[in-house]
Symmetry: none
Subunit: 234 residues, 4 copies
DNA sequence: CATGAATGAGGATTCATTCAT
DNA sequence: AATGAATGAATCCTCATTCAT
């Protein structure tokens, strides 16, 4: 009952990447007393664990073991399983939106920009299976944890604006049909990509067709482009 | 879907059971064919519980309570959590495929048949949220349990044939583009429907738009039809 | 299922084996499947543990061990440490008030009745050190748990009435001073008895005088009577 | 009461220390004699924490936070939780005995002196709830820690002598009954005061009467005087 | 003197499953 | 057929204390 908990979050400095580099290059020392490194290791391990097993299935012990840290540290840095999960969730969204932001779609032709967005999204999903796993878990909980995050909406408005710009320019140029809803477009792209990857296990079984094969994956990537462009066709 | 269960344990004459009960039920309990009733109640309860909480999150106690049966019965009829989950999984697939089979798409025009399939699928997903929940859970486990089920492929080949027929007739009539993969078409339909419903919780949060509103849901249903028909357009 | 747990706990087989031996060899049958017995054993064990160590210091494991039951049962019957503590608390009050109720003070002379009450209280405190321990703990928590108990006041009004009757009859007979507050009288009796017993450990140390000696204890019992009667003297 | 600590670590001239600090504190930290200040802060914080939560319930982290010091300092100055607790315990006794020593009862009439002692004790208990809390905790542990303290008896003999003197003078003057045991008298005073204050939480609940009200508290103070003087009456 | 990271040994609670009736 | 008691192995979390800087 005497909850004098002092959940402190790390102030991550800009040199983090640099520090990581340094640590990995320095011949695998145990590197004790490195708050940032520990904190990151926990977050990375937790992301994997939560993505693979879901919130309920994830084990705090397993996260600690994956991160090669003492379990106690996890509580020290994040306060508990819940808070760690929220950190993972936010981190996952920030990561994809940050990568997206680097696309700079506005200096391309609408068609090229759209293709880039679709391809990027598909590739990101492929490269970051944890992201889809986290989303799946979070939705099973009806976004219970995500709702706690205040800044999540701000994180996404640039994306909508960007797509909106593409659609407007495409419509003006006669490349795209007019009056498309940018959110619907994004959701369609995400739906086609996400569904294939997250559901390929049951789909492979029921259709007796190994959807994890490179050929199948590549074909589906093209299929998404086809579907989206067919829909956008004026 | 529980009614479609084929593997029944203990299929002794139901009448005799009824007779047995007749004496005891004279007081207050309206127990008719307890064995089957109990078994069905367990399956229905388990389907909800597994869908809502995932395999790991589901609680045997909770299932027993939902089913209003003694927990021991669950072990009696199904053997354990694993086996019960497999029964739920199979039952879920059998249910949707059975409903689909009742569509009789082959006697309609290709366009009408396709529209019917899309609308049916969307409506089925809407009406049976447990189905999507079960799939989500099963995929998180990489279809580990589904693979155990021998007859699951046979269950799905009629669906593929049916769509194949539609596509062929549509292509022949010049309504659809030629050489469409029926599995890809089905997966696209399912992707657009499933993604919206299972992911609407996070999507509503990040886009600050309540996707559980009837208007949004209806609009998305039409969107799926639009997308699929745009893609099929020759 | 996903539980490919690697973190294993040390399986201490020796203690359990020893415990098993003890229970079976001591001619008392293990007495399985006896809900009431188990429940009572837990309550008795918990009363001792909470009294000796306080709420925070009490160990659920220790209670289970004292009661010779599986720890899980404790949760089955009482729900948790909190609820078990509340049960102990209520049980303690019910026990003393029930014993008091058997005194039947109203058919004695006021002086005899009062003496009987004082002696009984002192003796009860002596015989039931757990009661004082529980009270001490509960007061350290500012009666946080007791406040939850609805029926605790009703339990005590008979006591107040009884003392009130004694005081009135004594005042009428000229034995006692008039206008005594029955609650103050009871509190004085309890104070003198309780303080000696609960604080005798520090008192023995600071005054270098073993207050746990029978002679000291007996003398204090008489002292309480003296003090109370001196106060009641008209 | 920490200010009453006689055993001071590092008692160097305070002025010089202040001067020393003046130069260093020029930046931001107002550190005056950090060693002593820190040590006192820890002791004060620990006293509160132990009194409120008991030994087992007290948290080293909480003490560090209350004292606004680094947890490590606590180990530096006191060695550990046990030793800190003992320091708190001794400090508490020293504080009350020191205050008592300032009463100078021997130059008053026996009745006045006794009244003064009773009133002082009651007021001290009221003003220093931590003292009672510490005693309560220590007694729950059967004075395990207090026994370690060598000088605790010497601390109390003056008190006994003082009361003894009062009783003798009172008996000689015919104000008090003869042959009173000074320890019993002191224990009676303490019992009535301590019991009311420490047990008022449960008492308020069972008698449905708010004993923390000023009126009730004042009344009880008078009641103690009444009881003690009634008992002393020859 | 001071700091905050790190840790191992518990501590309460929960869970799927089996046993006795 | 049905029930509820019983259980051991986890599972999340906490704590006093030590270590490296």
């Amino acid at each position: 009952m005497p909850e004098a908990r002092t959940v402190k979050r790390r102030t991550k400095s800009e040199d983090s990447a640099k520090a990581d580099q340094a640590s990995t290059s320095s011949s695998e020392r145990p590197r004790l007393r490195d708050a940032e490194r520990t904190s990151k290791a926990i977050l990375a391990a937790a992301t994997k664990e939560f993505a693979e097993r879901g919130y309920g299935g994830a084990r705090v012990d397993a996260i600690a073991e994956r991160a090669k840290i003492n379990k106690r540290m996890l509580y020290h840095y994040f306060g508990g399983k819940d808070a760690l999960y929220v950190a993972v969730l936010e981190g996952s969204y920030i990561a994809i939106r940050s990568a997206e932001a680097r696309l700079d779609l506005s200096h391309r032709s609408p068609a090229d920009g759209m293709r880039e967005l679709v391809v990027f999204t598909w590739q990101y999903f492929l490269d970051h299976p944890e992201f889809l796993g986290i989303l799946s878990t979070e939705n099973m909980h009806k976004a219970r944890f995500l709702k706690r995050s205040a800044r999540i909406f701000e994180l996404h408005s640039p994306l909508v604006s960007e797509i909106s710009g593409l659609l407007d320019r495409g419509a003006a140029a006669g490349d795209f049909r007019p009056d498309c809803d940018p959110v619907k477009i994004y959701m369609s792209i995400a739906a086609l990509g996400s569904f294939f990857l997250t559901n390929r296990w049951t789909l492979s079984t029921i259709f007796r067709r190994n959807l994890s094969d490179k050929a199948e994956i590549d074909a589906w990537g093209e299929h998404i482009v086809d579907v989206i462009f067919a829909y956008l066709r004026p």
